[in-house]
Symmetry: C2
Subunit: 342 residues, 2 copies
């Protein structure tokens, strides 16, 4: 065992798309585990889109990597030395090792792998991306047999599992991927019913036409990994009561092409702050009217609830009152009073 | 009783903001109720923002008004003639009368009013706007004591009830309204804790600063009635796990000012299609990992679940692999393989 470890650090903050010069390559003394820690020789390191966010300052859902600090990331590896009960030298573990050849992991921040599967699966299909697909589809996608799902970045670790889980649940699954090869992979390996190559469609309109053909009954779930052109293409194809789990917006991670456009910032807010934006139409809830009336009538009658009416006299004045309402010229519930005129 | 009725029709479709010439004024023969109908003399007609949508062609959540047809709308009035069991001449009823002095209502499309409150309340605080506030806040706002709510169009029939219900539930309530008079109304009559005048703030930044002062702990629920500048001002103030019931986007009903901007169309899609856009971060669901691993491991092991890894050899190649990932250059779960190097 060498007495040096190697690591990759954040050398400077990217200005737009990251470049190689933003990373530093360093050698550091091999760390020694304290009580309750293990020293791991990293065999596999996960690279994930979220890391782009950690390279920048400013609010995201996790702290930024500091300048000069080792890039954050999950790894798997073999325990070289253990001061944790129940973990022995030679065990394979996973944890946040960072981009480094060796790392110390604390007892409560490591997970022992003991299956027969390759350890790297703990970084992918059985790791964070897998959990993202599985939990996100269940919680936010809420798939129902017979529906149609569109997945962006469909051959990626998240998208490919989303597609397979949805297919198994009886949905029609449509992949969006970049290039003919990935499209083939989507249908042949991951079992998507159809795949659309976003590179073959330079603009959202053209991509939308291809998607409409692949999803003839519209889209019930759009699994959002990318933002940008794909989102623009899909949105008008969404069916009523559709769900959009916003899992990532990689197309915008390094800034939007069109900075006059507020959609990227909006979409990012929804993601970073886990907002649930739910459009709703009261006619869907009309069945609640009796309960509502029963509860509120006595409260209104008792004067507990204030209300205000902006009464316009005469049917003929309805158009002007309506225009005024659209301009915010009214104060209170706009009502046109008719009786007694005709 | 005259043998003529008067009505207001859609004379032409608006081009942008509606103008008076878009409406027609007509006199028609008085209709006679068939079996199962009543003839109503309309006393009060409701005007509501949704009517703007009905004036245009194209998909919305309800069909457009045809050219020459009576403008749609809810009214209340007195029954002049009844061929419905249980409804008598002189009864006060409400239903979709349209913009007209008289209307026929079918038995299953009318509601008898029998309280002591003024009948016009059935169009407002105890009607569609009231139900919208009450059901929408409960279902999509999910208020919790101690939280902060911001309401756009706060003195309107929906906003004023949202504010009162939220206040009663123990929230801090902040009104956004147009003009000093409406702001006074919001706090004095409707009991909001604070009110911000959007007319006093020509741009979103300035409005945001005022809102930040009124909502020092951030915003947990933004009740969206308007879109436009107010939405732009509020979004960055939202707290994590905030909720945005999208109830209307009146600022954009007649077209966005800046058509290069895709946000208005996005927001409108969310509303019209009742989309639930939920940003989510897998770290919030980390507790599901054991269940996930238990369920998926055998399926992966059995080969039921395909997965793909894009392995880069060597820690030093991590930055290039990451840049490639950001450009979509990878195929499968990006993994950097380290073991055996050092």
């Amino acid at each position: 065992m060498t007495d040096q470890m190697r690591c990759i650090t954040l050398a400077r903050r990217p200005d737009g798309a990251p470049v190689l010069e933003d990373f530093g390559h360093e050698t550091r003394p091999m760390p020694q585990p304290a009580e309750g820690e293990v020293l791991v020789e990293v065999s596999h390191l996960s690279l994930d889109p979220y890391m782009r966010g950690r390279m920048s300052e400013g609010p995201s859902y996790a702290p930024s990597v500091e300048l000069g600090e080792v890039m954050t990331g999950q790894g798997v590896g073999r325990v070289l030395a253990s001061r944790v009960e129940g973990v022995a030298e030679g065990d394979i573990v996973t944890g946040m090792t960072g981009w480094a050849s060796h790392a110390l992991l604390k007892a409560d921040a490591l997970r022992k792998l003991d299956g027969d599967l390759p350890p790297s699966t703990a970084l992918g299909v059985l790791g964070m991306p897998g959990l993202t697909a599985w939990a996100g589809l269940r919680e936010y996608g809420r798939p129902k047999a017979g529906e149609t799902l569109v997945v962006a970045a469909a051959t990626g670790p998240v998208g490919s599992l989303v597609g397979q889980l949805a297919k198994a649940a009886g949905l029609r699954t449509v992949a969006v991927a970049g290039g003919a090869e990935k499209c083939k992979l989507a249908t042949e390996r991951f079992g998507f019913d159809a795949a659309v190559d976003h590179r073959a469609h330079p603009d959202a309109e053209s991509l939308r036409a291809a998607l409409a053909e692949a999803a003839p009954d519209g889209v019930d779930i759009y699994w959002e990994n990318v933002g940008g052109k794909v989102l623009e293409a899909v949105l008008p194809l969404m069916n009523t009561h559709g769900r959009i789990p916003v899992c990532g917006t990689i197309a915008w991670y390094s800034g939007a092409e069109d900075t006059a456009d507020r959609l990227p910032a909006t979409w990012r807010s929804i993601l970073v702050k886990r907002l649930q934006v739910a459009g709703f139409i009261i006619f869907d809830h009309w069945n609640l009217m009796p309960e509502f009336v029963a509860e509120m009538t006595p409260r209104v009658a008792a004067g507990e609830i204030a209300f205000l009416e902006d009464v316009t006299e005469g049917l003929e004045n309805a158009p002007a009152a309506f225009l005024s309402l659209l301009e915010g010229g009214n104060t209170g519930k706009a009502v046109v009073k008719l009786t007694g005129e005709g």
